[in-house]
């Protein structure tokens, strides 16, 4: 294998990992706070991507340009993240007392509903608006040309979000409240934290992250039916490899899975789909709780 391909694979891997991390972060964040594995998270990604592409197409009618692209990413993220996140949170309120696995099935049902909603709104043909990628140009890295968008924007967004979320959880009042609810809901409520509000905010943040992942991916990946399912399984692989609820772990797991995935695309394309599961499976075989999970307090 020549070094050009290796470089390309690594760059692809890192940029893919950036997107994957953002989506997985939303999944793991909602799980960490509410103990719900949100299968509809894949739909958030897809809807975010579709919405961004639609807004982009609509704006491009007047004029292309980076500003419009950025605007469409932000608008798509906010629109989908907030609305879908809130609907989901509202829906789950009716099932608060049910076991986690049933709540998961509720999110699965919601996911099925959203599949049809997507098809009704966007049809079945691929959506793809790559203006921003072209506008931002290419750069030469170690002898290969690579787009600035994938090289800088995707990983950059991931790193920025990682730091913002960490700062938010550690230093802001709201973040501290969220952490308190995560550790011990009863105690937090006893101390005056409004758990309902926290849950709502959690779903909005999680929703925004999912939608943002889709929005960022939309210029380089075409949105097609079925993409929600691919993404939810892939981000679950990241989250499970890292350990449910682990933020830093998710960053590392996303990198590992992203890089191995793109290496396989270049080297053994037929293994592409299998790689994330092989990594997850191997990790879970040796560490059933994921790589970074600290042991839970005992219950007996």
């Amino acid at each position: 294998m020549n070094s050009g391909i290796l470089t390309l694979a690594l760059l692809d891997g890192v940029s893919y990992a950036g997107m994957l991390f953002i989506v997985s972060l939303g999944l793991t964040f909602i799980f960490g706070v509410t103990n719900i594995l949100n299968v509809a998270h894949g739909s958030l990604y897809a809807c975010g991507g579709y919405a961004t592409a639609s807004i982009g197409l609509w704006l491009m009618g007047n004029d292309g340009g980076i500003i419009n692209s950025i605007f469409s990413i932000i608008a798509g993220t906010l629109l989908v993240g907030v609305i879908v996140g809130l609907i989901l949170e509202y829906l789950l309120r009716f099932f608060e007392k049910k076991p986690p696995i049933l709540q998961l099935i509720i999110t699965f049902a919601f996911f099925m509903i959203l599949e049809d909603v997507q098809r009704l709104i966007w049809g079945t043909s691929p959506y793809f608006v790559s203006t921003i990628v072209g506008e931002m140009g290419n750069v030469e890295v170690l002898g290969v040309f690579y787009t600035n968008y994938q090289l800088i924007v995707l990983p950059g967004a991931a790193v920025i979000i990682y730091f913002i979320l960490n700062w938010f959880l550690k230093h802001s009042l709201l973040g501290k409240k969220i952490v308190a609810v995560t550790h011990n809901k009863e105690v937090a409520v006893g101390m005056g934290v409004d758990a309902k509000k926290i849950k709502k905010i959690t779903f909005i943040i999680g929703g925004l992250l999912g939608a943002f992942g889709g929005a960022l991916a939309s210029p380089t990946t075409s949105m097609v039916p079925g993409i929600s399912a691919d993404i939810i399984v892939l981000s679950f692989a990241v989250v499970a490899t890292a350990g449910l609820g682990q933020v830093t772990g998710a960053l590392i797991a996303a990198l590992i899975i992203g890089i191995f995935r793109s290496l396989s695309i270049y080297l053994y394309p037929e293994l592409e789909v299998v790689i994330p599961y092989v990594i997850m499976g191997t990790v879970l075989l040796f560490k059933p709780q994921g790589l970074f999970t600290v042991e839970k307090a005992r219950r007996i």
Partner: protein, 308 residues
């Protein structure tokens, strides 16, 4: 006992319907085989676990049937069914060694992941599996009889009905046996199970193998009645449908999975005609309503009313 009687009534009803309305024969066989697969999901649900990948065993058995039928032309349909069940059971036993360690979300998603791998592999190896077009199975002889389509289906319907009767009987026995009761204890207190000296993992593994062979039986019948197998059979959506049926029917009695499958298949048939575009939406909404209003499903409701 009441449950077995209810099952017999249901099956008799199905067979009679199939004879009176021949165009419903195929859908009824499909529904019944779906019921068998959903029963496999119900077995795991007794342990409080949900698999989102069990369609892979349906798919695996179906493809085994297709491969064997192609490799040995002239082989009997019943032998094909037995082979399909055997292969999915063996696969379940092997995969089970690995997944029986996991619970809840991990268990559900690991099964999903494995099924996605299978789905992808079948799709990728086009020249062996026919890719997304699938494989045709020419109609084999059945129990020694060379039959036309109609006669073949009748025989298949009878075979399916008899299998369901036997399976529900054995599964009910299983639910009342020590192994079955240990399995249910996984749902409520695995720690206690370990502290009376029982391996929760082994107990769960047994349940998993049973569930995979039930799904295999369903897949083998499915393959024969359709004469065509496609990777779609193992897609996550199919696994989701099985979970749906199992929840709709409820796990109070194995009868639940069968009636759940009937209800599902006919809902699907009419929904497909009337509103194809909204099918998933209907499925999702119904699922939410069931969990909200009737968490025990049909059989849970019947049991509450002391009908079964």
């Amino acid at each position: 006992m009441k449950g077995i009687i209810a099952t017999i009534i249901l099956l008799t009803g199905s067979v009679v319907t199939a004879f009176l309305l021949p165009h419903l024969k195929t859908p009824i066989i499909l529904a019944l085989s779906y019921g068998l697969a959903a029963l496999g999901i119900s077995v795991l649900m007794r342990a409080g676990q949900v698999s989102f990948g069990h369609a892979m065993y349906v798919c695996l058995a179906a493809y085994s049937v297709a491969f064997i039928a192609k490799a040995y032309p002239g082989i009997d349909g019943l032998v094909l069914i037995v082979c399909g069940v055997a292969i999915s059971t063996i696969a379940g036993a092997i995969i089970g060694i690995f997944v029986s360690k996991y619970r809840e979300i991990f268990f559900g998603m690991l099964n999903l992941a494995i099924s996605m791998v299978l789905f992808a592999v079948i799709g990728k190896y086009y020249n062996i599996t026919g890719g997304s077009d699938g494989m045709m199975i020419s109609r084999p002889s059945f129990i020694g009889f060379e039959l036309e389509r109609d006669g073949f289906e009748t025989l298949l319907l009878i075979t399916t009905t008899v299998s369901i009767l036997l399976v529900t009987y054995f599964i009910e026995r299983f639910f009342n046996s020590p192994a079955g009761k240990f399995l249910c204890a996984i749902k409520t207190n695995e720690t206690r199970l370990e502290y009376i000296g029982v391996s929760a993992r082994f107990v769960f593994w047994k349940g998993y193998v049973i569930s995979s062979s039930l799904c295999g039986l369903a897949g083998a019948i499915f393959a024969l009645v359709q004469g065509l197998v496609t990777p779609e059979m193992g897609y996550w959506l199919k696994s989701g449908e099985l979970v749906f049926i199992s929840l709709l029917g409820g796990v109070a009695h194995s009868f639940g999975a069968i009636i759940g499958a009937m209800a599902f298949e006919f809902l699907k048939m009419y929904a497909a005609i009337l509103m194809t575009d909204y099918w998933h939406m209907i499925l999702g909404s119904t699922l939410i309503l069931i969990i909200y209003f009737a968490p025990g499903g049909i059989s849970g409701w019947l049991k509450n009313k002391k009908y079964i």
